[in-house]
Symmetry: C2
Subunit: 462 residues, 2 copies
């Protein structure tokens, strides 16, 4: 990850991380920190981080000359002026040591990178974004990270999150166990593309129960090249959650509002990406987020009584207790069926013939489906499949006791899953199917709350 | 719909609609209006509408005796004290005429009933809710309706909305055309179960373009038997929208907040049921609702410039202009595929073999799907299928130009549908497929805004 030769020729002795003044052909001046670039194909521009924290790409042909203002050094480095955590009291804590992972006396974090938007850049040639940045490169861009933790980074794989599924969940879970068993870490951060982040969060919530430390999954809705990137503030918050959260478990750290002020900590089984592009796309469903990072502090929200959180017993402990329950396999013979009017129930027969073991129906309203599906579902269940009901409404819970359709569905053997998100139910079934053989056990476990996937413990009064 | 013989024996000459005092065995007294009951199996209770507008069921065996306070009469009827529209100035407008449909000088509405929760009751025997009430019965329960319109009612069919699909959309559309062509009506109201209400709203939005009058679809999240029912306030608001809205088109009228104060008017292609049970379950996606009924007035919201509404040219006109464009058929060979991690792409082959013509993918994020699906989708498209991309995020739009995965999808021939809801896209494809033969035409029409299903006209700056 270095500046290419042809760019270097105009940079002279300027290196990535240096503060520079760039004089453009029109004689305007841009000042900021020279950023790393990440693909050999980009030969026509450089990227500068402005004092306000935003990055800009500048075409080489528009540049008259570049001068160095100061060399990169954490000690002398000016904190970005417009930054989530630029309280001046923190500045003195910067260490005069470029190898940030060696900073002592700070909590120790393992950052496992799977490929994500924080680690992306725009390819100015094609106009697209590719994810290439290694987790280690983040240090140069976000020196504030060193205030909160000593971070070891590892690239597990580099995938767009739409390509992440059961196999990758298995790999991530095993890597987390490896890091935990080393006894070295106070928290683990998983960097992950946002598209399927909530699916992975659910998968890890089931695979890794009774975690001894927090596991925080973090990503960015907008790549670090963009002025409005949420990459650095989300990552900083994830480090703060991983080191200061009083709870262990699997959580997602993402922007909570359109401002940069609040980053939310969501429970892994109850979070959903609800907007394609907004920075505050992730929402906790039916519950509030459990914590917020505001300035550089974690504020724990009022935890509703229907949420079960495990105390982080290892917080600030030298000799950590690590006793992790893990079952990290997933079986993909689970079909998530979103019902819609006009759905042809013959497809249920097809799914059955393909060898699927479980169908998670995303029904309408309280958990309904056209009666023309009943006979097909009855046959699927008779053949040994398990069929569960969730709702496409997203918020609220299934209830098959209100309308007679619902009671008919229960007679057939379809099991409602309360307010479990359909996506979480799908992941849970994949996890149970891989780790347990007994169908009765799986059927019961699906209806039992394991990791806050069911939060309607008492019937609600409407 | 009458009180059963065994109940009648304790009622003597008391009739449905009369105000009664009920003395219970414990000598407490309940006063209210005797409500109709709707199933012969219910032989052990009666239903009373309390002065606060709530209904209660009272077990016959708990009743000592019943006395009549006053007979049912619209003129002498006390308006419910706790009601959305109980301004005393309205009271004088009540007409001394029991046949409310004959009230002259008021706008004329056709109310077409398809079966819905407003027309439901709890079966106290099984604890379930069944939908049985005819639209006509509503007059007795909601006399305020006569303030706003003269209403003709017709039961088209009586279905839970999870059983409503392409065939029923066709029937409803044709019934609306029949009512419009009669030249008698200022507005049409469709009563509909809430589960698939938004699918039907989208279907009618495509089937009936350039409507000369408003078509308002209305339902209730909670049946009229329940204290918290939204049935009457939603229905009253739908009548107000149908008679006072400045726009024609297909709209959904449902509670906008958890209070009874606001009923929202949503555009038919942009509304979604987002909660299984809350009264304010329906949300306009990516746009605000276009109008609100507050007290008894329609307040038009600021209509964003990306929303195209047709003026209601027939409002307050004696001789109405009716020139309706209608294509009311739907073809169900459209598969709505919600992508999820672990999805087995062999299913795409199955869908192709089953004779489907269109696949609407609900992809992740900006419109992505695992690369293991690419070859199957390529083959489906080569075989003549059309494949479109929407997002499971619900809010926001697809954009296949951001990441290289997206550009790969476009190369295969997958067409992004901007911010069209996946459900609306499915309905639109069913409609196009039934009414047009040329695949190129259908492909183009899918990407073209017809009825506000696409509201991202200009690229948004993020």
């Amino acid at each position: 990850m270095s500046i290419n030769d042809d760019v270097q020729s105009i940079l002279n002795d300027i290196k990535v991380g240096d503060i520079v003044n760039i004089v453009l052909n029109n004689n305007s001046v841009i000042s900021g920190r020279l950023m790393p670039r990440y693909e050999s194909s980009e030969r026509d521009h450089i990227v500068i981080k402005l004092p306000n924290g935003y990055n800009v790409g500048i075409m080489l042909k528009k540049i008259k000359f570049i001068t160095k203002v100061s060399s990169f050094s954490i000690e002398t480095e000016e904190l970005p002026k417009k930054n989530l955590y630029n309280s001046s009291s923190l500045k003195s804590q910067y260490k005069n040591d470029k190898d940030l992972s060696q900073i002592s006396n700070l909590p120790k974090i393992a950052l496992i990178s799977t490929g994500w938007t924080i680690a992306s850049k725009i390819d100015y040639r094609t106009g697209g974004v590719t994810s290439v940045l290694s987790a280690k490169d983040l240090y140069t861009s976000i020196p504030e990270l060193s205030l909160y933790a000593s971070i070891d980074t590892e690239i597990l794989f580099n995938e767009y999150s739409e390509n992440i599924g059961p196999m990758q969940w298995h790999l991530i879970a095993n890597k987390i166990i490896e890091k935990i068993n080393s006894g070295n870490y106070d928290g683990i951060i998983i960097s992950h593309g946002t598209d399927t982040m909530s699916y992975t969060a659910a998968a890890l919530s089931f695979a890794l129960q009774d975690l001894p430390i927090p596991v925080i999954i973090v990503g960015a809705q907008r790549s670090s090249d963009r002025p409005s990137s949420d990459a650095s503030s989300n990552l900083i918050a994830s480090v703060i959650f991983a080191t200061q959260l009083d709870y262990s478990g699997v959580f997602v750290a993402m922007h909570g509002s359109i401002s940069d002020k609040e980053i939310y900590c969501h429970i892994g089984t109850r979070v959903r990406k609800n907007h394609t592009s907004k920075r505050d796309a992730f929402k906790s469903i039916d519950i509030p987020p459990i914590a917020v990072v505001q300035d550089d502090r974690v504020e724990i929200q009022k935890i509703p009584s229907n949420i079960i959180l495990h105390k982080n017993k290892n917080r600030n402990k030298k000799n950590k207790e690590f006793n992790i329950i893990s079952k990290t396999k997933f079986d993909d013979r689970v079909f998530l069926l979103k019902y819609y009017p006009g759905f042809n129930p013959i497809l249920i027969e097809n799914v059955q013939k393909l060898g699927y073991k479980v169908i998670i129906i995303e029904g309408t309203g309280l958990g309904h489906i056209n009666r023309n599906c009943f006979s097909y579902l009855k046959e699927a269940i008779a053949s040994g499949m398990l069929v569960f009901m969730t709702s496409q409404c997203i918020w609220g819970r299934t209830n098959l006791n209100v309308y007679d359709t619902g009671r008919d569905l229960q007679k057939i053997g379809i099991i409602p899953l309360s307010n479990m998100l359909s996506e979480t139910a799908m992941v849970k079934a994949m996890w149970l199917l891989a780790n347990y053989n007994d169908l009765d056990y799986i059927r019961n476990k699906m209806q039992e709350n394991i990791s806050n996937e069911i939060t309607f413990i008492t019937p609600i009064v409407e």
